[in-house]
């Protein structure tokens, strides 16, 4: 089996060949390959930019791999600020000994995921580190988008909180794929590019206040952040939050809370009550949004708390994840 060696990362002949054979050929960006930086023009709009490094373990999991995740993740971060994703860079840190065929599969997934929404991968980088200095492969993606809907987070009392589908799927898929806990489940990661879904929602309503993709830390952490950052109190209804049976079962078995498990293909939105139905309909019209649901309401401005109403009718406060040790999920 052909494997990555240190020489693939030293800027010499082998590095040159690897870049030509794997990256340039799959990303089809030879236009930029000759220069230290890629050049391109974007319409004179407001821009959005985001970066993420992906260290998910394992690299391959039901429903995706680190490459698909890395591209979708950055596209999603651009999408949730109301941007049309345009260009992206990909940077690889590869452990000596990594199988080149796996690298090709991963890069192929990246190219496919980017192509879905016509994102051009304009620049890249490859570093190889000694065996034991990385866990196979890490990927950084950094993306630029052009703002199409300037979201203004003027959240109001009574606004609805919508999630585009069931929560915790990615987290459980990773737990299962790691195999360490002996968990077996057919659940697949929800890892996907949300731009088409979000574009539909933005078409349906010009008044979406705020969007976020609840990845690391799960739905609860994403909403706690929103509550704190924008000074609002949100009340979720435990019974309305969509959770797949298998995810619930896995959580029961392991003692995890699905609200804190990662998602990689879900968006949570705050919308005016009046627009709730329009947005829901738009989301549900897409396969990724079929299970979209209103899960809560903005109860007050300026308190900054996330509350959960239990089936008993009492509420309790939700916090950020605190020091729980979950496996690497992104």
């Amino acid at each position: 089996m052909e494997r990555i060696t240190l020489a693939h990362g030293d800027g010499g002949q082998l590095a040159h060949q690897l870049i030509a054979d794997v990256f340039v050929s799959m990303f089809r960006n030879d236009r930029h390959a000759k220069f230290d930086a890629a050049t391109f023009t974007l319409d004179p709009h407001e821009l959005a930019m985001t970066t993420d490094s992906f260290v998910v373990k394992p690299l391959f999991f039901p429903g995706g791999n680190i490459g698909k995740l890395a591209v979708a993740g950055t596209i999603n971060d651009l999408s949730v600020v109301g941007a049309i994703p345009k260009v992206m860079t990909c940077s690889f840190i590869i452990e000596e000994g990594f199988p080149i065929c796996d690298l090709k599969t991963i890069v192929q997934s990246m190219a496919e995921e980017a192509k879905k929404v016509n994102v051009e991968i304009v620049a890249g980088d490859t570093k190889v580190v000694e065996r034991g200095s990385a866990d196979g492969l890490y990927i950084n993606t950094t993306g630029i988008g052009v703002i199409s809907h300037s979201l203004e987070p003027k959240i109001c009392e009574g606004d609805s909180v919508i999630v585009s589908g069931s929560v915790g799927d990615h987290g459980v898929a990773i737990l299962v794929a790691r195999g360490e806990l002996g968990l077996v489940s057919t659940i697949e990661s929800d890892c996907t590019t949300l731009y088409p879904l979000i574009a539909k929602a933005l078409q349906a309503s010009q008044r979406i206040r705020l969007m976020r993709d609840p990845t690391r830390g799960g739905l609860a952490t994403a909403l706690v952040e929103i509550c704190e950052d924008f000074g609002v109190t949100i009340e979720l209804e435990e019974e309305r939050i969509p959770v797949k049976q298998e995810v619930e079962g896995a959580c029961e078995l392991l003692g995890f809370d699905p609200l804190y498990l990662a998602n990689e293909g879900k968006v949570v939105m705050i919308v005016p009550k009046e627009e709730e139905q329009a947005v829901l309909d738009a989301l549900r019209s897409q396969p990724e949004g079929k299970a979209a649901a209103v899960i809560g309401t903005v109860r007050a401005i300026n308190k900054g708390q996330l509350l959960l109403r239990t089936p008993l009718g009492t509420t309790r406060r939700l916090y950020r994840l605190t020091g729980l040790m979950l496996p690497r999920i992104c």
């Binding site: 459980v172 299962v176 806990l181 002996g182 968990l183 077996v184 489940s185 057919t186 659940i187 797949k244 049976q245 298998e246 995810v247 619930e248 079962g249 896995a250 029961e252 078995l253 392991l254 003692g255």
Partner: protein, 75 residues
């Protein structure tokens, strides 16, 4: 986490059994419930099936609670 989850026994292999909770599964030890049968529900704790759930009693509890509801509704 010592709450214990009711899990359905799918198959048995020597001293261990594959159990299912709503579609997610796990292999657990069954040395404490050697009499367990496929289809039984067991309480799982830290990788061991600790007890077989008595369905009759489970139904009875449920009936008791239901009666309470009915009583309230009627009364």
């Amino acid at each position: 986490m010592c709450v214990g989850v009711p899990a359905k026994v799918l198959h048995i292999d020597g001293f261990s059994a594959r159990v299912d909770v709503m579609g997610s599964q796990m292999d657990v030890g069954i040395i404490f419930v050697p009499e367990v049968k496929i289809g039984d529900y067991v309480i799982v704790h830290a990788g061991q099936a600790m007890s077989i759930i008595d369905e009759q009693y489970a139904k009875e509890s449920l009936e008791e609670w239901r009666k309470l509801v009915d009583a309230r509704r009627d009364g």
